[in-house]
């Protein structure tokens, strides 16, 4: 059993939105719906300032708050640690959207089902990488097994001293270099 996770190096991200577009293609999403949101954050005091571009998607939390509040058990975690939504069980009550600390969920207004980043579970099952990772022009994204100390992602997290966005909001599986 793997425990899939990702590292995003915001220092390398140029905000080209290629990951978002490839994600929309992969998941067959309409233009206005996306699983990756971009945030900009200014830090520091002039003249020592920094502008970060931070792509945010489902953080695939362990003990995910969206999973525990879901009244129908539509949201579940696979054995590989990927948080998924069973579209056949979702009633669209939006409790998960309210509970998600990262506002990473969005509702499909055609079906009413609430969806989000799936870590491209289908591709990963075939041994491939998620669409956002393979498409990233600056290799800002690294994906792999967090339990394997020799995986690219584990090594990269150690090398760049990456951290989850907010470790106090739960154990998320996307690590950020900032």
């Amino acid at each position: 059993m793997a425990r899939f996770g990702m590292m995003i190096d915001t220092r390398k991200c140029v905000g080209c939105y290629a990951c978002r577009v490839s994600c929309q293609m992969q998941n067959e999403l309409p233009v206005e719906v996306s699983y990756i949101k971009f945030y900009e954050k200014e830090t520091g005091i002039f003249p020592n300032v920094k502008n970060e571009i931070i792509p945010v998607q489902c953080q695939h939390c362990e003990d995910a708050p969206c999973e525990s509040v879901c009244p129908t058990k539509a949201t579940y975690t696979t054995e590989d640690g990927i948080v998924l939504v069973d579209a056949e069980k979702c009633i669209g009550c939006k409790y998960c959207m309210v509970a998600c600390p990262y506002q990473a969920r969005t509702q499909d207004h055609l079906t009413g089902v609430v969806e989000k980043c799936r870590f491209c579970a289908d591709l990963v099952a075939e041994g491939k990488q998620p669409a956002c990772v393979t498409t990233c022009i600056s290799n800002a994204r690294v994906f792999g097994d967090l339990d394997d100390p020799n995986s690219d992602v584990s090594k990269a997290i150690i090398k760049h001293n990456a951290h989850p966005l907010r470790p106090d909001l739960g154990k998320s599986k996307i690590y950020y270099v900032r």
């Binding site: 945030y39 954050k41 931070i54 945010v56 708050p65 525990s68 509040v69 879901c70 009244p71 129908t72 058990k73 539509a74 579209a87 056949e88 069980k89 979702c90 009633i91 669209g92 009550c93 939006k94 409790y95 959207m97 309210v98 509970a99 998600c100 600390p101 990262y102 506002q103 509702q107 207004h109 079906t111 009413g112 089902v113 609430v114 966005l165 907010r166 909001l169």
Partner: protein, 298 residues
């Protein structure tokens, strides 16, 4: 805002329905002669809950399109929504039974009524826990919220029951004095709870402070001060106090007693008081949902 007006209306109706059931149970014991008030409370309770549930179903789009999926609502015991679904189911069954017996003029089974009372309280509380367990929104994530919702549920329940009753029996509305006293204290407690909640939560963190600021001095200022505080709470407190004071005065004079016995005094006060409480009850839920600022994660 993920949850909007529809959910606010549902939270309001669920509380109102539970409150009306409790009001009628209280009246049936304390004032066995106040048949109209008891009847009204028992009838409106399942109807209002039913409207609330319909709103929920409409808001849950995926379920609306595939109604069989609502069965799954009973499956996740870690979710407050699942627990609430059980509470509402039991409450709804008891309330519908009691209403039916009332219509058929049959004796209500005491045990079923007690079950109804327990699950009415549970339903009112659950609406608070539903959003209270959301750690992402500090405005909701406070222990005082479920208590505020229960107090508001009882207060709107009394208001709804009295408002509808006043159309059918002016006399009874003036007769159930202790209901009015309870109502007055509930309204006062509600003001205190809102004050406490806002004062303490606003100091807990930035998102909470932002939520409270948007209510008392920002975007929702007018709705909060005029809609909730002035119309929803202070006006009914004032009118209810005047009415109770008046009732006491009347009890002291011969002429007053005659007027009271004839039941000929107006219901304008009751109409205004109870409608404004209902308006306030809805605005309270609407504001708490609208002013929800999630914690910043960046």
């Amino acid at each position: 805002m993920v949850w909007g007006t529809i959910i606010a209306a549902y939270l309001f109706l669920a509380g109102l329905s539970a409150g009306a059931f409790l009001t009628s149970s209280f009246v049936s014991r304390k004032y066995p002669n106040a048949v109209t008030v008891r009847f009204t409370g028992r009838i409106i309770s399942p109807i209002l809950m039913g409207i609330g549930l319909l709103l929920l179903i409409v808001d849950a789009e995926a379920g609306l399109k595939n109604p069989l999926r609502f069965i799954y609502l009973f499956t996740n015991f870690n979710s407050v929504m699942t627990i609430g679904t059980y509470f509402i189911s039991f409450f709804m069954m008891a309330a519908a039974y009691v209403a039916l017996m009332e219509i058929l003029k049959k004796k209500v089974n005491k045990i079923v009524e007690y079950i109804g009372i327990v699950f009415a309280v549970a339903t009112a509380m659950y609406t608070g826990f539903l959003i209270g367990v959301i750690t992402t929104v500090p405005l909701w994530n406070t222990a005082i919220l479920p208590i505020l919702f229960v107090v508001s549920a009882l207060s709107t329940g009394i208001a709804g029951t009295m408002l509808v009753s006043s159309f059918f029996s002016k006399k009874e509305v003036h007769q159930v004095l202790s209901i009015k006293k309870i109502h007055l204290s509930l309204l006062a407690v509600e003001v205190f709870l809102i004050f406490t909640m806002f004062l303490i939560t606003s100091t807990s963190n930035e998102a909470a402070a932002e939520s409270v600021a948007s209510l008392v001095s920002g975007e929702f200022m007018l709705l909060f001060w005029i809609g909730l505080m002035a119309i929803g709470l202070l006006l009914p407190i004032l009118l209810e106090s005047l009415e109770l004071w008046n009732a006491r005065k009347m009890g002291h004079s011969e002429a007053g007693l005659q007027v009271a016995a004839a039941g000929s005094h107006g219901i304008a006060g009751t109409l205004v008081t109870e409608s404004s409480v209902l308006v306030g009850g809805f605005i309270l839920r609407f504001l708490l949902l609208s002013a929800a600022v999630p914690i910043a994660f960046l």
